[in-house]
C-alpha cells in the first residue's frame, strides 16, 4: 500500500515536470509536484515508524523556515543564485543520507552494490554541494565572474578523480570507514575545482547540470536505502535536468563540453558584451515569442533593417498571429525610418498591412507608456534616446520614438553596430531591452513558429 502511495507521488512528479515545460501550465505543474512531495513526506512519517520525532520535526521545521524565508525574500534578479543554494543543499542531503548509513552500519560485509551506491551518492552529492556554492559565489560576485585558470588545472582535477576512485575501492575492500570520509572530502574539493575555470555567464548551465547531479545523488541514495520513490524521483530529475542542460547550451550555440572545459564563459548565456563593453540581454525567438505572446499591446517599430531583410511579409504574419491571440498590434512609423521618404509605407503596403494600424510619430509617441512590448525591426537611429538625452550627440534634437517608455523592448538586428548616423545606441543596453541578434526576416519567421508552441 505504501509503495502504491509512493507511486502516486512519483506520478505527481512526472505530471508536474511535464507541465513545467509549457508557459501556460507551468504554475500548476509546480504545484502538482509540490503536492506530490508533501504526500511523500507524510507517507514516510506515517509508515516508517519514526523513533526520533524531535530530530525529525526539528529538522523539518528549521528547513521549512529557512527555505521559505529565503524563497520569499530573494530579489527576482537573484533567483539563479538562490536556486544554486537550494540545489547544493539537496545534494548534500543525499550525501548525508549515505553518510548516516555508513555511520550506522560501517562498511563491514556490505554487498558490493550497496557500497557502490553509497560512494556514488556521496560523491555526487558532495560535488553538487560544493559546486553549487561555488556557482552561487560567482553569480553573487563574491568570487570573480571570470574563469579562474592556472597551469596544470586539468591534470590536478584528473588526479582528484583518480584519488576518489582509488580510495573508494580501498575503503570497500578494507572495510575502512575512514576511507569514506576521505572520499567525501575529495568530492567536496572536486566540486570547487571543477567550477573554478567556468565563467560567471555560464553558471546557469552549471547549476542545471548540478541539478541533474542532485537527482542522480537522490537516486543513488535510493539504491542505498532500497527506496523506489527515491530512485524514480532521482532518475526523473537526473534525466530531465540533463536534457534541460543540453537545451540551455544549445540555446547558447555551445556544446556542454565547451561550457565545462573551454575555460571561458564571460560571453554567452544571459549576457553579452557590446562594442562599448556594456552587457546586453540576449533573447532567442522563443523568448521573443513568449514576451510578445503574453502582451496585451504590442507596437512594431520598423526601420531600414526591415527593408534590407525584406521582412515585410514576415512582419505582417507575426502581427496576424499575435492578433489571433487577442493582442492589439500597431506600427509606429518614424518619419525618417528607412532611406527614403515613405520607405516603410511602401513595404508595409506591399504586405497588405491595414492603413489603420499605422501610426505616425505624433500618434504613436503618446502610446508607448501604455504599450506592453515594443518590437523594433531593424530600426536604430529613430529610436536612439541620445537624441533626447545627450546634448553632445550628433542627432540631439531629432524627434525620436520614445520606445523606452514601454514595458519591454525587443530589438531585432544582426549585431550591435550602428545605423545611418553612425552612433551608438544606449537603448540596446537598457535594462528593459532584449536584443535578438538575427536577420529580421529569419527572426520573425522563427518567432512566428515559436509563438505556435506557447
Amino acid at each position: 500500500m505504501t509503495a502504491l502511495l509512493y507511486l502516486a507521488s512519483a506520478v505527481a512528479f512526472i505530471v508536474g515536470l511535464r507541465r513545467l515545460g509549457a508557459p501556460s501550465t507551468a504554475r500548476s505543474g509546480n504545484r502538482i509536484a509540490a503536492v506530490g512531495m508533501l504526500a511523500a513526506i507524510v507517507i514516510t512519517l506515517v509508515s516508517q515508524g519514526i523513533l526520533n520525532w524531535g530530530i525529525v520535526l526539528g529538522g523539518l521545521g528549521l528547513g521549512a523556515v529557512l527555505g521559505g524565508w529565503a524563497a520569499l525574500r530573494v530579489q527576482m534578479t537573484s533567483m539563479p543564485q538562490m536556486v544554486a543554494i537550494f540545489n547544493g543543499l539537496g545534494g548534500i542531503a543525499s550525501a548525508l543520507v549515505a553518510a548516516t548509513e555508513v555511520v550506522e552500519l560501517g562498511l563491514v560485509s556490505m554487498p558490493a552494490e550497496t557500497s557502490v551506491s553509497i560512494f556514488v551518492s556521496t560523491l555526487i552529492g558532495a560535488i553538487t554541494f560544493s559546486g553549487s556554492f561555488m556557482a552561487f559565489a560567482k553569480l553573487q560576485g563574491i568570487l570573480p565572474g571570470r574563469p579562474l585558470t592556472y597551469p596544470g588545472q586539468k591534470l590536478l582535477n584528473a588526479l582528484i578523480v583518480i584519488g576518489i576512485v582509488a580510495v573508494a575501492i580501498w575503503a570497500t575492500v578494507a572495510e575502512e570507514p575512514a576511507g569514506y570520509w576521505i572520499v567525501a572530502g575529495l568530492s567536496l574539493l572536486l566540486g570547487v575545482m571543477g567550477v573554478l575555470p567556468i565563467g560567471g555567464a555560464d553558471m546557469p548551465v552549471v547549476i542545471s547540470l548540478l541539478n541533474s547531479f542532485s537527482g542522480l545523488a537522490a537516486a543513488a541514495a535510493g539504491f542505498v536505502i532500497e527506496s523506489n520513490p527515491l530512485i524514480i524521483g532521482g532518475a526523473l530529475v537526473g534525466a530531465a535536468g540533463l536534457i534541460l542542460t543540453f537545451q540551455m547550451t544549445e540555446a547558447m550555440n555551445r556544446s556542454l563540453g565547451n561550457v565545462l572545459f573551454a575555460g571561458f564563459g564571460t560571453e554567452g548565456g544571459g549576457a553579452a558584451t557590446g562594442p562599448s563593453d556594456r552587457p546586453v540581454k540576449r533573447a532567442t525567438a522563443e523568448d521573443a515569442a513568449i514576451t510578445l505572446g503574453y502582451a496585451d499591446t504590442v507596437m512594431i517599430v520598423p526601420g531600414y533593417g526591415l527593408a534590407v531583410a525584406q521582412a515585410q511579409h514576415a512582419t505582417r504574419e507575426l502581427a496576424e498571429a499575435l492578433e489571433e491571440r487577442g493582442t492589439t498590434v500597431h506600427y509606429a512609423i518614424h518619419p525618417v525610418a528607412g532611406r527614403m521618404p515613405g520607405h516603410m509605407n511602401v513595404l508595409l503596403a506591399e504586405a497588405d498591412v491595414p492603413y489603420e494600424q499605422l501610426l505616425d510619430l505624433e500618434q504613436a509617441d503618446p502610446q508607448f507608456p501604455q504599450t506592453d512590448v515594443v518590437l523594433i525591426l531593424g530600426a536604430n537611429d529613430v529610436v536612439n534616446p541620445s537624441a533626447r538625452d545627450d546634448p553632445s550627440s550628433a542627432i540631439y534634437g531629432m524627434p525620436i520614438l520614445n520606445v523606452d517608455r514601454a514595458g519591454t523592448v525587443i530589438v531585432v538586428k544582426r549585431s550591435l553596430s550602428s545605423g545611418f548616423a553612425g552612433i551608438d545606441n544606449p537603448l540596446f543596453y537598457d535594462d528593459k531591452t532584449l536584443m535578438f541578434f538575427a536577420d529580421a526576416k529569419e527572426a520573425l519567421e522563427q518567432t512566428v513558429s515559436a509563438l505556435k508552441s506557447i
Binding site: 512609423i333 518614424h334 518619419p335 525618417v336 521618404p341 515613405g342 516603410m344 509605407n345 511602401v346 503596403a349 497588405d352 492603413y355 499605422l358 505616425d360
Partner: protein
Amino acid sequence: MQIGVPSEPIGESRVAITPQSTLRLVEQRHSVHVEFGAGRRAGFEDAEYVDAGAQLTSDPLPRADLVAVVGPPPPEVARRMAEGSILVGFLDPFQAADLVSVLADRRITAFAMEAIPRTTLAQSMDALSSQATAAGYHAVLMAAAATPRFFPMLMTASGTIPPVKLLVLGAGVAGLQAIATARRLGASVSAYDIRPEVREQIESLGARFVAAPVDESAAAATGYAREVSDETQRRQQDSLAAVVAESDVVVTTAQIPGSPAPLLVSREMVEGMRPGSVIVDVAAPSGGNCEVTRPGETVSHRGVTVMGPLDLPGRVAYDASQMYARNLISFLGRITAEDGSPALDFDDQIVSEACITHDGRVTHPVVRRAMGLGEAT
C-alpha cells in the same frame, strides 16, 4: 487565306495584327498583307512585320480574302474590299448602319468581335474583355497622373500624407482591373456594382464593397447587367452621393450592352466633391456614367476634373494590340479549315452570333431590328 491588315483611321492607335501574330498566321498557312506603317502607332515597325513573314503593301484591301480591323472602318474600306470576302473587327453595328449596308451590298461576310458570345469556350476570343482590361488599367493611370495628390500613404519628415480615396463604380472587367491597379498604387479603394455577386470579386482584390442598392435580378443570363428603372437609379445615386463626396478619385465603368451607360454620378454629386478631385469615365464611349462627362474631352467642373476618354485601350496600344490580335486569331480558328481556307459553320454558336452580314443579308437579328429590317428568314 490572304489576310489584309489596313491602317486604322486616325485616332485609333491599335492595330489588328501584330508581328507576333503574323508569325502564327503564317504558320497556319495564311499570307498576311500589311499596309505600310499600319503598326507604327502601336509600336510595331514595318521591318518587324517583314521579319515575321508579312508582305507590306500600300493597299491590302482588294486582294484580301479576309480583312482584319480594330475599330469600325469607314464605309469606303468596305467598298474597296473584294466581293464575298470576310471582315472581322469591332464593327459597332448598332451605330454604323451605313457600314453595315455597304457590307451587305458587297456580299461581305462581316463578323463583329463584340458580338462573340461571352461563353467559357469563347474566352480566348473575347476582345471586349481584353480591351476592357487595358481600359481599366489605363483609366487609373490617367487618374493618378491628373490627381494633385499621392495615391499611396506616405509618412515622412514633411508630414503624413493619407492615401487617396478611390471609388470604382461598376466592377466588370474594366472595373476590376481598375481596382487592382489602384490597389497596387496604394490607394484606399472602394467599389460598387449593381450585380450582387460582384461583391465577393471586389473583396477578392482587397477593396471594400460599398453598400448601395444591388439588384438580385440585375445579372441577366449572359452575366451582363440590365437597364434599371429610374427609381432604382435614383436610389443608387442617393446611396452613392456620400461616398462619392468623400472620394478623391472616381472611376466609373458601368455599362449595359446595347444601351446607353447608366447615369451614376449626377452633376450635384460632382459639385459635392472636393476641388482637385478627378473622375475618369470609362463608360464615355457609350455616353458616360457621369452627367458632366463630355465624351472625348476633359472638362473641369467647379475644380473637379472629369475625363471622358474614348481611346483608353489605344493608350496601351502595344499590349492591347497583342491581346486583340490573339483574340482575332483564336476566332479565325473557328472559321478556317485545316488548310487555311475559309470554312464557315453557321451551326457553331460562336460563328453565327458574331456574324452581322453574310451573303448579301444582314444576319444578326438585333442589328436587323435596330436597322428596321424585318425578322430574318
